[in-house]
Symmetry: C2
Subunit: 368 residues, 2 copies
């Protein structure tokens, strides 16, 4: 009976944390009064088990709970349910990390391309990749395509839809994707580069698959999706679909509540690293430290760790820090992140002069 | 240009809340440096607008922001994205309520049955409904069906799979659903009642629809799904599917992080009331005050309000408080909730004697 385990941080001293850990063992599995849990298989296997408890901080403990692998049914939603479903409603419990055996990981495909695969496809061996977004929302498809052309001409590697662009009447999906993909292809012909356009397919549940296929047939070079809005398993399905066969970039919209409280929720490492890779992300977009959002430098580094640490047969995911970044931030980001990073600069590219193409070339010069 | 609006609670005094509200207007729409937002349509329509700010508490303000209706593309994921996508990553902002015009609501179907429809189908005019779960996880299909039979015989109205039951090898989905539905039908024939069995279809994205159809063909009387695990729009799709045509009950697993911080996230009212109805829930399961979880009585009452207040053309959703409830809690719950409630008691039914059927009859006697 193979097991997997989850590391939790539980608020309180060792005695109260132990009590809460016992509660987690029940809550996340049998949800039954402890004295009534049937002996044998259910009590010995199905119920969670405390593997370790360590009172390593004055106000909280690190607890490892192990669970029956078969109880996940090898389904991602049920895996997420076991590790945090009901206890998400109990304060003072934070998922720190997952320990998943290869026998579980091998039931998922993880990132299709990963860092190396994406580098290979783009023909960029060593330098950090440049990422930007088509914005602002409200522009029409022609205007967005015009921007895409300039950005590609200027040497950006990956151009995504802003994550708010879906199928608005001012820039309908199929029209926008066709025009932007065409504009980027045209720029590539002129420059000899291999910039890719990534439409946003965060869409109604019955349209996601179709939009992804449409993206492919219209010449997109990848897709972005916000799993907080669509569900993680919808993203996994896109990533594992051989008919789509495009790099998948995960956007963090609507996921902030999981990480925003230091004492509850899920760690940046587990959510934006381990879980994103389980769900097939080739690139993980997250708000960089020092920008408009609240992530600290340590939290950002833990995301990189979660994206790149060994994880069974899985490829590495590319960390894509962004969110309020400007040209001035780039040198320091390069110091912190090294070369295996995709630098996402959106609005910041419009600063420093009216010539967008020139601004992109300057951005590019910072990483070469 | 029609607009909808969102009420936020923003931490801070009026001056800082105003600044943060201005940031919300940008962050949730154009994500662009404020001085560079194009004049005209984008600045006047697409950008969020502060409709009202009220410094009603010493440490926080109530701010209403209005947004362009067309920017939702009338899609649920994009509506959720606009109201809380990126700002979920900024602490100190909580969605309190949504003000959605009928022109938006009419693009969704809301609950298919609602409180009245469910009462009509079950033939229960006035009394509260009785709800329980098949548990513990780890029992096989035959054992679960045996429990279902006794629970139905004892007078329970709705019997759901525990939300951790998916497609484990110890109780595979199709086998479990067939056996449990048969057991409940047999009990109904004997008692003349109309108990319904509700399988859990929280499943991989490519299997949810199929499991729901299978549930219907195997004789299930409804379905439960955890939208925190599948995405809200997957639930909406099930609820709106005429081929499924079953009451949908929403389970709160994995959603706790949105409500657990008083200063950030989404209010109980908006998440478990308004958003659940947008996503088609006929019944909303949530942890009752005083049980194993952390919701207060006021928060629970606000959920009832969100489930039943006027909301355009939408039907009301049934509040289903549960989670660690025992027979002793019932009288007080009836006082608080009145008759339009579904009382969910799980493990508590196994207390007070070995005769499960007798325990159910006692539960039933408390509401008649």
């Amino acid at each position: 009976m193979e097991r997997f385990s989850v590391g939790y941080r539980i608020q309180g001293d060792e005695i109260s944390a132990l009590e809460r850990a016992r509660d987690i063992c029940l809550e996340q599995t049998v949800e039954f009064p402890p004295d009534l849990v049937p002996y044998g298989f259910i009590q010995d296997v199905v119920m969670g088990q405390i593997a370790r408890i360590r009172a390593d901080r004055p106000d909280s403990c690190r607890v490892t709970v192990s669970y029956d692998l078969d109880s996940t049914a090898f389904e991602l939603p049920q895996l997420l349910n076991i590790l945090f479903g009901n206890i998400s409603m109990k304060p003072g419990i934070r998922v720190e990390n997952l320990n998943l055996p290869d026998s579980l990981l091998s039931r998922f495909k993880g990132p299709r391309f990963g860092i190396n695969g994406l580098r290979l496809r783009l023909g960029i061996k060593e330098r950090p990749l440049l990422f930007t977004a088509l914005k602002p929302m409200g522009l029409n498809s022609r205007e967005l395509a015009g921007l895409a052309y300039k950005l590609a001409r200027g040497g950006i590697d990956l151009i995504k839809d802003d994550h708010g662009l879906t199928n608005q009447k001012y820039a309908p999906y199929a029209e926008r994707v066709a025009r932007c993909a065409e504009a980027v292809a045209r720029a590539n012909q002129e420059t000899g580069q291999s910039c890719r356009y990534l439409p946003n397919i965060t869409a109604p549940a019955d349209e996601i698959g179709q939009r992804a296929l449409q993206a492919r047939s219209l010449g997109a070079g990848g897709i972005i999706v916000a799993p907080g809005l669509t569900g993680f398993d919808s993203m996994r399905l896109l990533a594992e679909n051989d008919g789509i066969d495009l790099p998948v970039f995960a956007h963090p919209a609507f996921l902030g509540s999981y990480v925003i409280s230091p004492a509850s929720g899920i760690s940046h490492f587990a959510l934006f690293g381990q879980i994103m890779r389980l769900a097939g992300a080739d690139g993980v977009i997250y708000p960089n430290y020092g920008g408009r959002f609240s992530f600290s430098q340590d939290q950002c580094i833990s995301i990189v760790e979660g994206c790149t640490m060994e994880m069974g047969p899985f490829k590495e995911a590319f960390p894509c820090p962004g969110g309020g970044m400007n040209m001035e931030n780039i040198p320091q980001m390069l110091e912190v992140y090294g070369r295996d990073v995709i630098l996402l600069v959106g609005g910041g590219l419009y600063r420093g002069g009216n010539d967008l193409e020139a601004n992109c070339r300057y951005f590019r010069s910072l990483v070469e």
